[in-house]
């Protein structure tokens, strides 16, 4: 074949790209599909020549190769074969709508009467509408899920078995009533419009909503899931969200109920029309019938919508998940509120605590200050007292030794007393409390005139030495 011309340019080699001999093998091919090529045409012959010269093959190869080839031809032996009910085989194509008409006159819900009183009839007929086309073709397990090719194969199989010629060959009567049923069923099911109409009223595909007891016994999800799956077949929007399970998220559950409350259904009720306008009737009659039919359809449609709504209501009411989500929400709210309160409370407490602490500190500080003050006063007083006492000791020391007059002398005259006491006072003003105390101590220990006089002399000398007294200022004490 000629090379393909591509106008778009190849990419520029990225920087730093390198490989041995400029070639890099990276991936491998995806696995190939085995198929048969048709041994036809000049190109195949060329291919065959090439291939044959290279290899030889055995019978084993042949089988192997054939087995691997992907099948394109359908297997005719599908699983579409259900046991056929004897009663069904005896049905007549004509009465495919008969039952309904009879019972429709008796009751607004013909199906109910049939179910109550004629269960066998229901078995072979499709509820209200006579023939169950899917059952006739042996597709009752598939129903609305059956594909067109499945219907075709099923029809073909039934025809092969029930063709009137076949019956004639086996010697039974040439009764083709069931064959007509088959043809009728195929006619309806292969026409997309008619099939939709039939599917709309195919109650055998319905799944009855479970009662509360049933739901409890078998599990709520197991019971309701199929109900919505079967209702979902009427939806214009596909795929239909599923009921899910206990672990479904809140979004999923909400999406599910939203979908079902806004359900867009293609269901229609033409199939249950009581009268079908005939070509032969006059126009007015036809219009009348059409009007009647339209009204009936509209009524049924409204009823159906209401039914579905109540169904969803019922399901919603029993849905534990909704309760769970509500609870969770409430719990979440409570928790949040609790947390908030807690925080506020804590904040308040902290504040009070801090205040108390501050007060306590202040009080302590005050007390300490007070105590200190008291202490200081006391000490001062004590010191004052001690100084007073010491001064007294000092004064009395000179008085006791007769104002430092040598022993044996007469009591000192007032002049001497004044001079000595003046000097003592002068010394006392020149020394501080501690020196006073030590001096008092020394004087307390000194007995006799000499001792006292020497203490004083010593003291006076020290003071003069320290420069606090002038030499000769206190003569009496030296």
């Amino acid at each position: 074949m000629a090379a393909v011309q591509v106008q778009l340019p190849l990419p520029v080699l990225p920087e730093g790209w390198s490989a041995e001999k400029d070639f890099k093998a990276i991936g491998t091919l995806s696995p190939a599909t085995q198929r048969n090529i048709e041994p036809v045409g000049p190109h195949f012959l060329a291919h065959a020549r090439r291939k044959r010269h290279r290899r030889t093959f055995s019978e084993d190869d042949r089988i192997q190769a054939q087995e691997n080839v992907k099948k394109v031809e359908d297997d005719d032996a599908g699983e579409i074969s259900e046991p056929e009910d004897q009663m069904m085989l005896q049905r007549d194509a004509k009465d495919w709508k008969v039952f309904y008409k009879i019972f429709a006159k008796l009751s607004p819900r013909p199906n109910l009467i049939l179910r109550l009183f004629f269960p066998t009839v229901l078995l072979l007929t499709n509820h209200s509408q006579g023939q169950d086309h899917y059952a006739v073709l042996g597709l009752s397990r598939h129903r609305y899920r059956a594909t067109e090719s499945q219907i075709k194969t099923a029809h073909r199989k039934k025809v092969l078995r029930h063709h009137p010629d076949k019956r004639a060959a086996t010697g039974s009567s040439e009764d083709d009533s069931f064959f007509k049923c088959i043809q009728k069923a195929t006619e309806v099911l292969l026409d997309p419009i008619k099939r939709r109409q039939f599917d709309s009223v195919d109650e055998n595909a319905d799944v009855e909503p479970p009662s509360k007891k049933e739901a409890q016994k078998k599990g709520w999800f197991k019971c309701w899931g199929p109900v919505f799956e079967s209702e979902g077949r009427f939806s214009k929007d596909q795929p239909v969200p599923r009921l899910g399970g206990n672990e479904s998220t809140k979004e999923d559950v909400e999406r599910f109920y939203n979908f079902w409350y806004n359900f867009d259904s293609w269901r229609s009720f033409e199939y249950q029309d009581e009268d079908v306008p005939d070509d032969n009737e006059n126009r007015d009659q036809k219009r009348h019938i059409e009007k009647k039919n339209n009204n009936a359809r509209k009524k049924k449609k409204t009823e159906d919508t209401a039914r579905l709504r109540s169904l969803v209501d019922e399901c919603l009411a029993g849905d534990e998940r909704i309760k769970k989500f509500k609870q969770q929400e409430r719990a979440g709210k409570n928790k949040r509120r609790g947390e908030k309160e807690e925080a506020e409370k804590k904040l308040k407490e902290d504040k009070i605590k801090a205040q108390a602490e501050a007060e306590r500190l202040k009080k302590e500080a005050e007390e300490a200050a007070k105590a200190e003050k008291a202490e200081g006063k006391k000490a001062k007083e004590a010191a004052k007292n001690a100084a007073k006492k010491n001064k007294r000791v000092l004064k009395s020391s000179v008085k006791d030794v007769n104002y430092l007059l040598p022993e044996g002398e007469a009591a000192a005259g007032p002049k001497r007393v004044d001079e000595v006491l003046n000097d003592v006072d002068l010394v006392m003003t020149k020394i501080d409390n501690e020196e006073l105390a030590s001096l008092a101590g020394k004087l307390g220990g000194a007995k006799g005139v000499d001792a006292v006089a020497s203490v004083w002399a010593e003291e006076t000398k020290r003071l003069v030495g320290a420069g606090k007294l002038k030499d000769g200022e206190v003569r009496t004490l030296i």
Partner: protein
Amino acid sequence: MSADESIEAAPAETFAIGISFGNSNSSIAYTSGEGKAEVIANEEGDRQIPSFLSYIEGEEYHGAQAKSQLVRNSKNTVAYFRDYIGKDFDSIDPTPCHASAHAQKHESTIAFSVQDTNSDSPSTLSVSEIATRHIRRLASSASDFLGKKVNAAVLTIPTNFSDEQKEALSESAKNAGIEILQFISEPVAAVLAYDARAEAIISDKIVVVADLGGIRSDVAVVASRGGMYSILSTAHDYETAGTQLDQVLIDHFAKEFIKKHKTDPRQNERSLAKLKLEAEATKKALSLGSSASLSVESLADGVDFSSTINRTRYELLGGKVFSGFIRLIEEAVRKADLDVLDINEVILSGGTSHTPLIARRLTSLFPQTTNILSPSTLASALNPSELPSRGAAIQASLISAYDPSDIAQNTHPALTATPHLSRAIGVLVISDSESRGVFKPLLEAETAVPARRAGLFAVPGGGGDVLVKVCEGQREIKVSKPEPKSKSKPQVNGKAGSEDDGDEDDDEDEEEEEEEEIRETIWKVGTVLAEAAIRATKKGAKVEVTVNVGADLGVTITAREVGGKGGVRGQLLEKGGGGRENGSA
């Protein structure tokens, strides 16, 4: 020496034709000296020979003559028997034979009870005997036309013919003095008929062959890769075919007749047979003209009937059947895991394909790029009824020189069962608009190996070093809603002139209603297989990349600059997936 002698003198020389043996019609074709397939007309000038046999007083009638016997001699007319060959009574649908001799159970096969001799008692003819007689008549017509004894043929069969059926058919042909060189399937024969034309270009394409016949319709999706064909899927329908369209016309005219004369011509077998034949003729006329008439003498109760119908009415009445055809084709495409966008060509084959409406419906189903090969859409299209026989004739001319054992080996499953690529292989190139690479496929998916494809790629502006990145690609369908008209537009218009506003809104509403999804195929880049560098390319040079996938799924990649010296060549590592197929070699 006489001509007879020369024929007998060279029995070893095979002279093969192509036969298309259908339920309703058969046709025969040969290949002329220039290699052109020609369909042979029989003695009556029919290129479509009805597969009917009828017997009156020991005389055998064939083709159109036999078909006309359906009215007066239906009991001794055999029709629609091709599908019964090699089957047992339990597995057939005898409905099509209702208007002719009925199919009966006979030992392990099917037979027809027909008065084919002068004797009074009817004899039982097995279906293989009938087939033998039919093929004999076809072969003799061909021999008469070509002036040379035909002793071999390539026969077309539906894709779902079983081995037993092939064997029985082969046996029947042998009894008629025809050796079947090879059975080829009808859809592939149709593709071959188109591909063998001198002007045809062999390319990689996916072809849908819709073979719409008289009592069955078959659709096959065929991958044509370099002239080799693989069937990807098939779909069959026995309920939607030409007779259903006849029935539509029959019902229409019968109703008209009832209105006038109060009798239903369908109640009477002979009236029905007459009406059926005429309705078929009317249907064919409607494929060519915009209206057609139907006239039957003494339709019922000795009343003549004549009426006309126009094409629109007919298309309306048959709408359901036409939709059935379309759905069948869609189903086949779906079964092949493909999308209508993947289909490059639709070949309409079989008698019913003449109907213009089918082609029209298909043009709207498939994208514009798809070629619909039918007489009403393409002037150069071949006659849909003749496609299988043409294909068979071409195949016959190709293999008539081979030994029978050679042919047997060629059709051996070990030779035909071949690995097909599951992903396309191609090269990444730069596009102007996007910064990311664009995948350009060289080898499409479903290509049988060994296969080799080459591509010439441009280099960026000034040349220099370029990178050849070979990878697998996967086709994806991108569905996008067309951009809703940007809101700014009306505002701009509003500024321009307020009186236009009303109109503008109306237009928009209409557009929104018509809004359709835009579907297009895009390539998704898969595994990178290899990278190669071409250094120092010249300005404006071309790089040739060749990808060669061997029979063992080994991949060799060659890249070189056209006119330059050297190049890069490399091989991919083998892997387990490939090893399985050639493990037995």
